[in-house]
Symmetry: C2
Subunit: 488 residues, 2 copies
């Protein structure tokens, strides 16, 4: 790739990762009274980033690069940069700043409304957020419906109709599996010894596991937050967070496994391509495949705990002499939860299906904001046979809409489907499977690097899945995985 374009991309990444440092600090360290000033800092940075990424210099450097000699990987990188430039240029800086201000306010309003269980207070803000989302969709353009344009932000090339059709087929099987898993879990309850499991011991154990997965702590770290996340502050700076429950060490552990999955992807991207699509994740659906793979396919497996239960006992004497089979009932317990972020593997996707349906109807104008609580509760009742007692545990639980993130939710389930396809494909290689069975993860990580990480965003998400697994993206592997694990 030509040097001018590379330099521009590095400058934009410099500014973008500066915002990430501020965002990380905001979630983990910032004193409460500093929120307004931090909003100002982040707004300034997003303005500068948008200016850089839509500049004439950027556009000229792209066109110049496309006229030169390029390797296929370089060409794919520049073509993707051009797609992003054209998309970004449809949004004026004024709108970017307006959105930054609105979402800064609405996140605050949402947090207050959730705490007070007061949906009507949040409703006018949600109207504005929807209006803004529609405005962006119109500016970006779409084939079938506005939701397509929003989805594109998170999952390049995905279509609303295709996801709806996939989810429609998935729904009945998921409900069947979930019901059986919940029933089986209830029939053989197991209560973890009550602890306390000291935070320091959890930290030590989590770190050992993350290192065993291959996470590089010389280029990353783990901190504590209310909601776990993973963020990249530079080519050698990937931060994970988790939250600690002194009554259950697996709570922080599975969060670390999940975020380490994201972090391993970020660390597996080509460092020399940092700041360009070749050094960036392909999509949220691919990103989530990595977190789910390490959390669920590796971390909730019997072979993992065969090796790690004895080490857990060494860290947590209060765990006592619980045997592997009994402990696995804790790892694989299933229940219909009202809260998505607390949902288990067998029931999780049902939460996503209902959110996708609701936000799509909102964007199509088939559902009004005031009807959301009732529609939400009806959908939960239909899926789980329970009704949320309040909106806090219903339609106010997630931050996504308050951030303007319409179109984000379906990528969670795409991630689950991708994870199952990728893990099955990786395990078809003997060297990977045999190592995994012995709780050795280097060959698996190498496989993922080769088949997923190294492409960055130079390939489309479906192309990555197809090349890595030999099949089109679909739900079969995921349903098979869930059936084997929860009905087998």
């Amino acid at each position: 790739m030509m040097q001018p374009l590379r330099n521009l991309a590095l400058e934009a990444a410099t500014v973008g990762t500066t915002a990430s440092v501020l965002g990380w600090d905001q979630e983990t360290r910032m004193p409460e009274r500093s929120a307004a000033w931090r909003g100002r800092q982040l707004a300034w940075l997003s303005g500068r980033t948008h200016e850089l990424r839509t500049s004439a210099a950027w556009s000229e450097a792209i066109d110049e690069a496309l006229q030169g000699e390029l390797t296929p990987r370089e060409r794919a990188t520049v073509v993707e940069m051009k797609r992003r430039l054209e998309r970004a240029r449809r949004i004026p800086t004024e709108l970017v700043e307006r959105e930054a201000e609105l979402t800064s306010q609405s996140k605050h309003a949402w947090a207050g409304a959730r705490e007070d269980n007061d949906f009507p207070r949040f409703a006018p803000m949600l109207e504005q957020l929807l209006e803004l989302a529609r405005e962006k969709a119109e500016r970006w353009g779409y084939d079938d419906e506005p939701y397509d344009a929003l989805l594109e932000t998170y999952e390049r090339g995905a279509s609303t109709v295709a996801i709806a059709s996939l989810f429609d087929k998935l729904g009945p099987s998921l409900r069947e599996i979930a019901s059986a898993a919940v029933e089986r879990s209830a029939s053989r309850p197991f209560t973890l010894p009550p602890g306390p499991y000291p935070v320091a011991a959890q930290q030590a154990f989590n770190r050992e596991v993350a290192e065993a997965f291959g996470f590089d702590f010389s280029a990353g770290r783990i901190d504590a937050t209310t909601h776990p996340f993973c963020t990249t502050l530079g080519p050698a700076d990937v931060r994970l967070t988790t939250r600690y429950d002194q009554a259950d060490f697996t709570s922080s552990l599975f969060a670390v496994m999940h975020e380490a999955g994201h972090g391993l992807y970020e660390q597996g991207l080509n460092e020399d391509d940092f700041g360009t699509p070749a050094g960036e994740a392909a999509s949220l659906g691919i990103h989530e495949s990595q977190s789910r793979l390490w959390e669920n396919h590796v971390g909730r497996s019997r072979t993992f705990w065969q090796a790690w239960l004895p080490r857990a006992r060494a860290h947590f004497p209060c765990l006592g002499d619980v045997d592997l089979d009994t402990f696995m009932r804790h790892v694989l317990r299933s229940d219909f939860s009202l809260i998505r972020v607390e949902a288990d593997e067998a029931t999780y996707d049902l939460h996503i299906l209902l959110r996708f349906d609701l936000e799509r109807r909102l964007l199509r104008g088939e559902l009004s904001v005031s009807e959301v609580p009732e529609a939400w509760n009806a959908a939960v009742q239909a899926a789980f046979d329970i009704t949320p007692p309040d909106d806090r545990r219903g339609c106010l639980q997630d931050i996504h809409w308050a951030m303007g993130g319409f179109g984000y939710f379906p990528t969670y389930t795409l991630g689950n489907l991708n994870a199952s396809q990728l893990f099955a494909a990786a395990c078809r290689e003997d060297s990977v499977r045999l190592a995994v069975e012995e709780a050795s993860y280097r060959p698996l990580l190498e496989w993922l690097k080769t088949h997923v990480h190294e492409a960055g965003a130079t390939l489309s998400p479906p192309r990555i899945i197809r090349d890595a697994t030999g099949t089109e993206p679909d739900a079969e592997a995921h349903l098979q995985h869930l059936r084997e694990r929860y009905l087998g």
Copy 2:
């Protein structure tokens, strides 16, 4: 003040505090492999800050403001902004970026040279740093010698000749006091019970003390670093750091008192003036007066420990039943240390006097870089009657020159002198003195806010001292304080 100027100042402060967030993270959290990228982020931010602060828009807004109606405080603010603008405009952006790159490299080179006790390896870098300092001094201009121009960066209006004359007078008295203090301390040794003093208990105790001084934790926090510091990340975000020694809880405590003194100043500045000279510290010599006042005048006093020793015992049972008089021998112990940052109150300023003399001679060309180790060791021998066994504990110990900070050192002693004058003046008010004697600090903090903090940088440092104490800045109060405490 006129709104356009205020908006420009806020934008520059937004970018400047963004760099502070990155600097704080670098010192406290950043994974080791991320140093190069962080350097790139900080260089970009310093380039943008310099551009903003030297822009035509800034210059026009200042001139426009000066033609309007202004209160005296507003006029002083704008005049100071004009002074800074003119000073900044003498340095081209190219030099700012060159300096950012050089100091980024030299800090790294210095750290390695110090670790390996290898001054010759650092020497070429020191030559370049001196050359750059001379270049900046020439561009800024000066009356008597280049050192004046560098000093101005840290202590507006100070003159090298005046400081040299002050330090010359101070030297003999300081040496006399220090020798007596060291002798007395040696004659009645006391060893603190060995602990361990757990870090969690130290954190709780330190926080109680900082809160008692008046530090607002809703707009600040304390973290751990190798070298304690205080930094401001926004109008309501002041971060302190300390380091923990499990064998001596007073080590982290006195560092917290010191940094909280800086932090109380930052929190005491007018929040509405943030980003303008009216909301910024007057100078380093005034800043250091606040840290020394709380650390030494308050924190090392018998009245403080009368109230707080029982609370220390509650936090640290291993402290045993040591009585107040015995414990005060630990608080006021004195020794000729080779290391400035470990030096006690009675010997500290002697470290500064020798550094000022050396760096002044370096700038005048009277001392060459290769002669530094020998000159350093001779000065230490003359002052303390000991000779550093190596350069690591000699001329390589401080980071200041590696940061290009020639002219910084004397502000430490100016701070000590200011602290003694200010504390004596504050205690001439009965309400302050009586409260301090009962370990109640709100009236003292209010006095400092009124007499020091509120002026920001709208008054010169000597004017602040004169207005607050009724006398010109001088060394009398400090010598008297040291004599009473260490010879009394």
